[in-house]
């Protein structure tokens, strides 16, 4: 304790600071950030399951389940893209609003994960340890070491796989469809099964790569992709003919420079109106 004569001097130095901190407000901030990444423990369930089986006297099964089962980790990306480093060193990039569930430690036979939403995978090669992703409890993707992208349509009715590198087995969990994909191939699972797509939609990975490809693409389609990528509404004024097409590779470009480029190439002008971009025919 300080000597008495220092009582005031020492103790009131930071009183103003203490009084100015709003602990409730700041707690809400932290709580919000905490819920962005929430982990779920699944193993108490397995422990119970194992105990029940033991009571039934099926010793050998109990033994199997009593082996320490790993904690499951669930990562929700929420409003932001999120990088997840898996226990084996593989990297998953979750697009927004995606959820990945994986064990804290992979077992010795396979690497199993569950995904809801979209993600880009860079898998560390290990031929003896297959890497298996269940997507929306509908499809299964099995790989040995590669990079690939899992994408979905807006209504989450179809699931597509784009393979950037390596070899991937893509199968439906309901049907018996299975298709093997290699580099630069894409397949899509719809209600009627899996089909190999004619060409890979490279732009479905733009959220991860930042790169958009256009090759004689209809202006309407270009704008649709830009809207999704830059999250801003872009419209054509009626003065603009709708048969225009655009070719370019946009590599991590700012919106402004993209708009400038389109204007220059197609002879248009653009302006902002009510937080929308409007293209008009250049005078």
């Amino acid at each position: 304790m300080k000597p008495k004569e220092n009582f005031e001097e020492h103790l009131f130095k930071n009183l103003g600071t203490y009084q100015s901190i709003d602990i409730e407000e700041d707690w809400q901030k932290v709580r919000k950030r905490m819920t962005q990444e929430k982990s779920i423990r699944l193993h108490p369930f397995w422990r119970t399951a194992a105990a029940v089986i033991l009571l039934l006297g099926v010793g050998f099964i109990a033994q199997k389940y009593l082996a320490p089962s790993p904690d499951m980790i669930a990562v929700l990306s929420g409003e932001q893209m999120k990088h997840v480093l898996l226990p084996d060193g593989s990297m998953v990039t979750l697009n927004r609003q995606a959820e990945l569930v994986y064990p804290e430690k992979f077992n010795r036979k396979k690497r199993e994960l569950k995904l809801r939403g979209e993600a880009f995978f860079e898998v560390v090669s290990n031929p003896s340890l297959p890497f298996i992703v269940d997507v929306n409890e509908k499809a299964q993707v099995k790989v040995l070491g590669t990079s690939f992208n899992i994408s979905q349509d807006q209504n989450r009715e179809s699931i597509s796989i784009q393979v950037v590198d390596g070899k991937v087995a893509f199968s439906s969990l309901e049907g018996s469809d299975e298709i093997i994909l290699v580099k630069d191939e894409q397949a899509t699972l719809r209600a009627d099964g899996i089909t190999l797509d004619d060409r890979m939609d490279r732009n479905s990975m733009s959220w991860k790569t930042g790169v958009l490809f256009f090759e004689n693409t209809d202006i309407e389609e270009v704008l649709k992709q830009l809207q999704a990528h830059y999250e801003i509404e872009i419209v054509l004024h009626q003065s603009v003919p709708d048969n225009l097409s655009f070719t370019s590779t946009l590599d991590k470009q700012e919106l402004e420079s993209v708009l400038d480029e389109i204007s220059l190439v197609l002879g248009l002008d653009y302006s902002y109106e009510n937080e929308k971009v409007v293209f008009t025919l250049s005078e």
């Binding site: 009131f12 707690w27 905490m34």
Partner: protein
Amino acid sequence: MIKGLRSGRDSAYEELFKEFYKPLTVFANSYVKDLETGKEIVQDLFVHLYEKRRTLVISTSLKSYLYQSVRNRCLNHLKHQQVQKMHHDQMKPELDSTDNLEDKIRENELEHMVSKVVDQLPPRCKRIFIMSRVTGLSNGEIAEQLEISKRTVETQISNALKVLREKLDF
């Protein structure tokens, strides 16, 4: 409490946060000299703690761990800032001064207690006390502003100090 944290009980977090947030923020502020930065550093630590709760190994007491982590984060922050030479010159004496963590923690806790006791004072008494010790107004100035007698101001301040002495056992 550590057990509560590890099991992921959210209320354990809230308790922990509410117990340590203010003193840690003031502690951080004493290094970074900016309250908002101090708040951010402490908030980051709490989020980090939450994310790492399963694997976290705390070998010392939770309290020393928290203070130590805040200090490390503050020093890192200052190191980053030192890229600017001007800051460098300003910060250097601060970094070099050997600070005894234990002493600092004790001092901080005491200040926190003072603030908590002040919070419990009757509203008028609290207001007068803050005007006097935080804003730094003279008793005459306070009397004038609140349109009360100087005598009342003096009484309220001595009451506040009396309560503080009692509660803090001086």
